[in-house]
Amino acid sequence: MLSRKQREMYTAFAFIAPYLIGYLLFHFFPIFLSFIISVTDVRYISRIGDASFVGLRNYLELFSDTEFTNSVKNSLLFSIMYVPGVMLVGLVLAVLINKKLYARNLLRGMLFMPYVSNMVAVSVVWSLLMDPTGGVINNVLRSIGIDNPPMWLMSTKTSLVSVVIIAVWQGVGLQFVTFLAAFQNVPTELKEAAYIDGTNGFQNFIHVTLPCIRSQTFLLMITSVITSLKNYTIVQVLTEGGPGTSTTILPLNIVNTAFTSFRMGYACAQTVVMFVIVMAITVLQWSGRKRFED
C-alpha cells in the first residue's frame, strides 16, 4: 500500500510525464544526438552506417571556415544591435503609454500587433517600404533633400542594420507589454516619497522606477539575447542571408550546411558551438544577476 506522500509523488509524475516525455524525445535527445553527430562525418544524404568517427576535425575546420566565422560575427552584431534596441524602444514606449494618453488602449493594441503578425507578411511590407528604388521610405528621404538615401536591405553595408530595425519593430511588443505591466507594480508611495525629497520626473524614473522593475528587465534581457542569437525566420524571409553573406547569421549557416551542403556532422558541430555561446552568455548574465538586482 502506497503512502499518501508516495501517491502524491506518482500523481505529480503522471501529470508532468507528457511534457517530460516530449521534452526528452524532442529536445534533450536531439541535443544529445547533435553532440554525437558533430564528431562524425554524417551526411544528410548518406546512410548512418556509412558514417565514421572524425574526432574533432569538424570543430577544427570551423576556425578556418570564413563562412562560419562570418556568420558568428553577424550573429553577435545582430545581438549587439537588437538587444539594446528592443529593450530601449520597449521601455520608452511603455513609459509613454503609461501616461494618460488619448486612445491609449488602441495605441497599446497597435504596438503589440507586430509581435503577433505573420513574419512573411511583415517581411513583404517592410521590403516594399525599404525598396531603395521606389519605396516609401526613400521617397520621403529624397523629398526632404537626401539625394543618396540608404540602400537598406539591398546593400551589404546596411542590410544587417535594416534587418535589426525590422526585428526590433516586430519584437518590441513583448518588451513593451512586460514593462508596462511591471510599471503597475511600482509602489506609488516610493515615487511620492522621492518627489517629496525633490527629485524630478526623470530622476524619479531612474532612481525609483527602474530599480523596482529590475527583475523583469533582467528576464527580458536574457530572453532577448537568446532570441536574437537563435533568430532564423526574420533573416530567412527578408534576405535569405544576402546580399552576399552580409546577413547570414549562424542559424542560417547551420541550415544551409545541413540541407544545402548536406554536411550534417559539420552542421552539428556548428550547433554545438552555438549552444555553447548561448549557454556562456546566459550563465554570465545569471552570474551578474545578483549584482544587477542589488
Binding site: 521606389g134 546580399p243 548536406f262
Partner: protein, 438 residues
C-alpha cells in the same frame, strides 16, 4: 459495473482500431501477380492533378494496381521529406522527379539502377527515349516522362505599340532579343522589354549554349572557363546595361512576381515551357492582348540550343516489386504526355505523324485564343535540330553551386563586386562544395 463498462469500451476501441486499418478494399490483381498496389509517391501539391489520376487509371487498364501516396512538399530551406522517408526504409515503388533534383537521391543510394531491370524485360531504353533518360555514372536510373523545353513568349500588343514586326523562330538570337527588347523598354517607364525571374540558371545559361560544361574532367568546377564569365556578364547586362529586363536591383527589391509577364507590361519572357500556362489558363491569367511563342534565343554564330528539364520515373531501392514497378514506370513514361496536360513527350521513337497528330489534337486547341499555329508549336518544342542542355546543374553539389551563383552573382548585380572577383569566388566556393560533396 463501472469496471465492466470500462473494459467493454476499451475492447471496442481496440477492435475498431484493428478493423479500421484493415477495412480498405484491396483490389485483387491476379493478372499482374500483384499482392499489393504499387505505391506511387507524389507531392501533396500535385496529388490532385487529373493527369496523375489518369495515370492510375491507365495502369489499371494494363492490369497494374497503383495507389497514390502523398508526402508533404518541402518548404524553403526544408529537407525533402521523401528522401528522409526512403532513407528510413519506407516502401515506395515509383517516384517522378526532375533530373536536377535526383542527385541527392542517387547520392543517398535510394534509387534502383534500371539497367538490369530493362535487360530482364527486354526493354531498349535508348531506342524509346534517346538521350533523355536520367543517368548517373553511365547507368540508367530514370525513364523520362516528359521534357520541359524553354521557350520565349511575347506580348504582341507591345510589339504593335513599338512598331516592331513579330519575331520569327528562324534566327531568333540573343542579339535580336536585345534589339527588340530595347525598343519595347523605350515605350515607357513601367514597361520592360523582357522579364525573367531571378533564378540561378540564367547566370550560366549562355555558357551552356556555347558548349561549356559545369565540371572539368578532374571533377572540379569549370567556372574559370571564360564562357561562364561572359554568361554572367551577359545576364546582368540585360537589365543593368541594355535595360531590356528590369535592373537587377529593381527586380530584387520590388520582389516582382514570377508571373510578371502576365501583367501586360512585359514584352518577352524566356523561361521553361511550363510558362505557356500563362497563355493557356485564361481563368487564372485573364488578358485581352494576344501573345506569340518562339523557341529560346541562342547566341549568334552558334547552333540553335535550348535548356530542358526532364522529369523521370524512377524505382526506389525500398520497392519490393521492382520488376512490376519498372514495367509501370515504362508505361507511364511512354504515355504521360497523353494524359491531357499538354506535356512534351521525351520520346525519340514517335513518328512525325504521331507528333503532328499530338500537336493538332492536344496542344493546338489550348493556344486557340492567340492563334498560334502548328508550325510555331513545332518550332518551339519539336525541332529535332535544336541542341538541348540541362537547365540546372546536375552533378555533385548541384544545389550549393546554384546558391553560390545567386549569392555572388547578386553582389555583382548590385554593383558591390567586380566581375573578376565574382567569378573567382564562384570558382573557389564551387570547388570547395564539390570537394565536400564527393
Amino acid at each position: 459495473m463501472k469496471r465492466i463498462l470500462c473494459l467493454l469500451l476499451i475492447a471496442l476501441l481496440v477492435i475498431s482500431s484493428v478493423f479500421a486499418g484493415g477495412s480498405k478494399e484491396t483490389s485483387d490483381n491476379s493478372e499482374a501477380g500483384q499482392s499489393k498496389p504499387l505505391r506511387f509517391a507524389i507531392k501533396a501539391s500535385e496529388a490532385g492533378r487529373a493527369e496523375n489520376l489518369r495515370l492510375v487509371e491507365l495502369a489499371k487498364e494494363n492490369g497494374i494496381d497503383v495507389e497514390l501516396v502523398t508526402y508533404p512538399d518541402p518548404g524553403a530551406g526544408e529537407a525533402d521529406k521523401l528522401l528522409i522517408s526512403l532513407m528510413a526504409g519506407d516502401e515506395f515503388d515509383l517516384v517522378l522527379s526532375a533530373h536536377s533534383n535526383m542527385n541527392p537521391f542517387y547520392d543517398a543510394g535510394v534509387m534502383t539502377c534500371l539497367d538490369d531491370l530493362a535487360a530482364d524485360a527486354g526493354y531498349d531504353i535508348a531506342a524509346v527515349f534517346g538521350d533523355y533518360p536520367a543517368q548517373f555514372d553511365g547507368k540508367y536510373y530514370g525513364l523520362p516522362a516528359f521534357v520541359d523545353i524553354a521557350i520565349t513568349i511575347y506580348n504582341k500588343d507591345l510589339f504593335d505599340r513599338a512598331g516592331i514586326p513579330y519575331p520569327e523562330s528562324e534566327n531568333w538570337t540573343w542579339e535580336k532579343f536585345i534589339e527588340v527588347g530595347q525598343k519595347i523598354s523605350a515605350l515607357g517607364d513601367d514597361i520592360y522589354g523582357a522579364f525573367n525571374p531571378l533564378w540561378a540558371h540564367y547566370n550560366y545559361m549562355l555558357a551552356m549554349q556555347k558548349g561549356a560544361s559545369h565540371y572539368k574532367e578532374d571533377g572540379t568546377s569549370n567556372y574559370d572557363d571564360p564562357l561562364f564569365k561572359e554568361a554572367l556578364e551577359f545576364y546582368y547586362d540585360l537589365g543593368n546595361k541594355y535595360h531590356v529586363n528590369p535592373e537587377y536591383l529593381v527586380q530584387e527589391s520590388r520582389q516582382m512576381p514570377l508571373e510578371y509577364f502576365t501583367s501586360g507590361n512585359v514584352g518577352m519572357s524566356v523561361a521553361g515551357g511550363w510558362t505557356s500556362v500563362w497563355l493557356t489558363d485564361m481563368e487564372k491569367y485573364p488578358r485581352t492582348w494576344k501573345a506569340g511563342v518562339l523557341p529560346m534565343p541562342y547566341p549568334e554564330g552558334y547552333p540553335k540550343s535550348t535548356s530542358v528539364v526532364v522529369s523521370s520515373f524512377w524505382v526506389p531501392e525500398t520497392s519490393t516489386q521492382k520488376e512490376l514497378a519498372f514495367k509501370c514506370a515504362a508505361l507511364f513514361a511512354e504515355n504521360m504526355y497523353k494524359m491531357g496536360s499538354g506535356r512534351i513527350p521525351a520520346r525519340v521513337d514517335l513518328t512525325q505523324e504521331e507528333i503532328d497528330s499530338y500537336i493538332e489534337n492536344d496542344l493546338l486547341n489550348a493556344f486557340a485564343f492567340d492563334g498560334i499555329t502548328v508550325d510555331e508549336i513545332r518550332a518551339m518544342w519539336f525541332d529535332p535540330e535544336v541542341k538541348i542542355f540541362d537547365e540546372k546543374v546536375t552533378g555533385p553539389a548541384a544545389a550549393e553551386i546554384n546558391k553560390i551563383f545567386m549569392t555572388e552573382g547578386g553582389l555583382y548585380g548590385i554593383g558591390e563586386q567586380d566581375l573578376d572577383t565574382t567569378m573567382m569566388n564562384i570558382k573557389e566556393k564551387a570547388d570547395k562544395a564539390i570537394a565536400n560533396a564527393t
